[in-house]
């Protein structure tokens, strides 16, 4: 029995490692879809800590994603050296900060923002919390859009471009890697980086879930007053949930910036927050396999549709293009899946069991 499980793990692992190599034969665009799906998994797992474990509905999660992305963008693009003479003087060859410096800074800053948002909202009930977090996300976006004057920090709606690709252990992920005659495309290298990050995140998140802190979060989710009566410090625990969730968001933001090479406020709209919440809830709130499934479904499937939408567009005389079709299907999926399976596609086997009489 135990051998069987080990075999399973090995097979799944081999499949995950082989996936980009197979996909890249059909074109890099397919690997890119897999990369984005992995990034969304990271985000969904991060948000799951806040919404799934601690039960705090956060509709502004993309703000932390944005903080991470802008941190990476500012520290490794020519924008700051172009704008400020004193920075250009300090870094004559341009600011090319190593990822090992940016990543902790981005994670810490996003975590700090998470706590900052958490602090005033601790007293609020579920729905009020939703709207305040939503407002917070919008505030961050408006600032990113407008902080190009009087001092140009974020470059406004034009966004930051020429961001360095991620380079790790001396391997520049922006270029293809040749091992002998075998070529691994840049997108596939990113795939491996994101995959390992996702694995780390899954382990961390799972250990959190079964830890004392995780149980405390779930107690708060089920009944905050009872949790308080049991001696839990609900204030600190909620702050911790916000901070942890935001940290994951910040890390994926930094990855996103390095991967894309260009970021602008447009990538961090409210719609993105909504999509991430939808991934968590559609998959199965508080249950890691469900959350991962939800993230893959909502991020990868619509992209795949892009390739089949061509004929449809001709049929409807251009009214129904790929982007519209994608939006339409995402919306329908959200409604239909919730109507058929209100607990999500792959709900946690334990969650909510005590509430239903046998």
């Amino acid at each position: 029995m135990k051998n069987n499980k080990t075999l399973q793990y090995i097979l799944v692992g081999a499949a995950l490692i082989a996936l980009p190599l197979i996909l890249q034969m059909f074109g890099n665009a397919w690997v890119r879809i897999a990369d984005m799906a992995l990034l969304y998994i990271l985000l969904a797992i991060g948000l799951n800590i806040v919404v799934g474990y601690a039960g705090l509905l956060d509709l502004g999660y993309v703000a932390f994603f944005a903080v991470g992305a802008y941190m990476y963008g500012l520290l490794s693009s020519p924008h700051l050296t172009n704008t400020f003479a004193w920075i250009a003087a300090a870094y004559p060859t341009g600011m090319h900060m190593p990822i090992w410096l940016i990543l902790p800074v981005a994670a810490a800053l996003a975590g700090l923002f998470g706590m900052l948002l958490g602090a005033p909202t601790l007293k609020l009930r579920g729905d009020y919390l939703a709207i305040v977090t939503l407002g917070f996300g919008e505030i961050i976006r408006v600032f990113m859009n407008n902080l190009d004057h009087p001092v140009n920090i974020t470059n406004g709606p034009k966004g930051l471009s020429q961001i360095d690709p991620i380079s790790i252990f001396g391997v520049n992920l922006g270029q293809k890697l040749m091992i002998g005659d075998f070529e691994i495309a840049s997108v596939s290298l990113y795939y491996y980086l994101f995959l390992s990050l996702v694995l780390v995140t899954i382990v961390v998140s799972h250990r959190l879930e079964v830890s004392r802190i995780g149980r405390a979060w779930m107690a708060i989710r089920e009944d905050e007053i009872a949790a308080k009566a049991m001696g839990l410090n609900t204030r600190n625990l909620k702050l911790l949930a916000f901070g942890m969730g935001a940290t994951f968001g910040g890390v994926s933001g930094a990855m996103f910036a390095g991967f894309q090479g260009f970021i602008s406020p447009e990538s961090f709209s409210l719609m993105e927050s909504v999509m991430i919440v939808a991934m968590v809830v559609l998959g199965g709130l508080g249950y890691l396999p469900g959350v991962i499934l939800g993230a893959i479904l909502l991020s990868a499937l619509p992209e795949v549709l892009r390739y089949v939408a061509g004929p449809l567009q001709e049929m409807t005389g251009g009214r129904l293009d790929a982007a519209i079709l994608r939006q339409l299907l995402v919306a329908l999926a959200m409604i239909v899946i919730m109507l058929m399976r209100p607990r999500g596609l792959w709900p946690s086997p334990e969650h909510g069991k005590s509430l239903t009489p046998k």
């Binding site: 919404v51 039960g55 509905l57 005033p120 909202t121 007293k123 609020l124 009930r125 579920g126 729905d127 009020y128 939703a130 709207i131 305040v132 939503l134 407002g135 917070f136 919008e138 505030i139 408006v142 600032f143 859009n145 407008n146 009087p150 708060i220 989710r221 009944d223 905050e224 007053i225 719609m271 909504v274 919440v277 939808a278 809830v281 559609l282 709130l285 009214r319 129904l320 519209i324 939006q327 339409l328 995402v330 919306a331 329908l332 999926a333 959200m334 409604i335 919730m338 109507l339 209100p342 607990r343 909510g352």
Partner: protein, 309 residues
Amino acid sequence: MDVFLQQVINGLVMGSMYALVALGYTMVYGIINLINFAHGEVLMVGALTSWSAIGMMQDAMPGAPGWVILILATLIACVVAVVLNFTIEKIAYRPLRNSPKLAPLITAIGMSILLQTLAMIIWKPNYKAYPTLLSSTPINMGGVVITPTQIMILGVTAVSLAILMWLVNYTRLGRAMRATSENPRVAALMGVKPDMVISATFVIGAVLAAIAGVMYASNYGTAQHAMGFLPGLKAFTAAVFGGIGNLAGAVIGGILLGLIEAIGSGYIGYLTGGVLGSHYTDIFAFIVLIIVLTLRPSGLMGERVADRA
């Protein structure tokens, strides 16, 4: 001083539209505890329907006076919005009434995206010029300028609010609604049909949203499939600001929010020496919201409810 009065009038106009939409949110929330995310889209459908109706009527009867066309178009928009909101509740919210709390919220968000996309397919994504049907010459009142459209908005809002207050406080339906929001189970035992009351709530909300949609489009002179999002969001903010579930609170919250935005955006450039400009208008609503909720977590007029997350 004139600048100040002018901004007060602009704020009142904006605020009364927020108030109408906020009422829809707050009534639905008061009865079934659901943030109806698709409510802003009902406003959008109302505005776009009236735009189409106006176009058709102007072709059919070229000589008709503007106000007649506007009233007819508003009526048509109301009917379409009512049918739409009634259907949304029936298919997307009713089956989920006893499911986990986040499920109906997700279908509501899905509905909102769906309606926007469908509107984009039906009406195409470009901005449409909304015809000016009332006279466009502004009226000068002691240095303060107000357009006939703005007067109409204030008047229509006042009338709608009066009718709504009468409906809620002095009719059988109103009593049933208040009873259901107090306690649905006991209300059902007393012979109130909760399903009927909930449908009625969505119908009333749709009428108010459609009226607000027509006025919003006439005030700005444009209509588009994404126009419902921002007013919807701000109206919800207004409802929370006033204390969600409380009708008077929604009205006061809406008008206050409109005033804060108008006065804030009028003075922010002057106060900060041009560092921050009026493009920060949209975040006033949220900053105010965060401050109010921190100091008074159940809104201005909300009852203090026991903390049940």
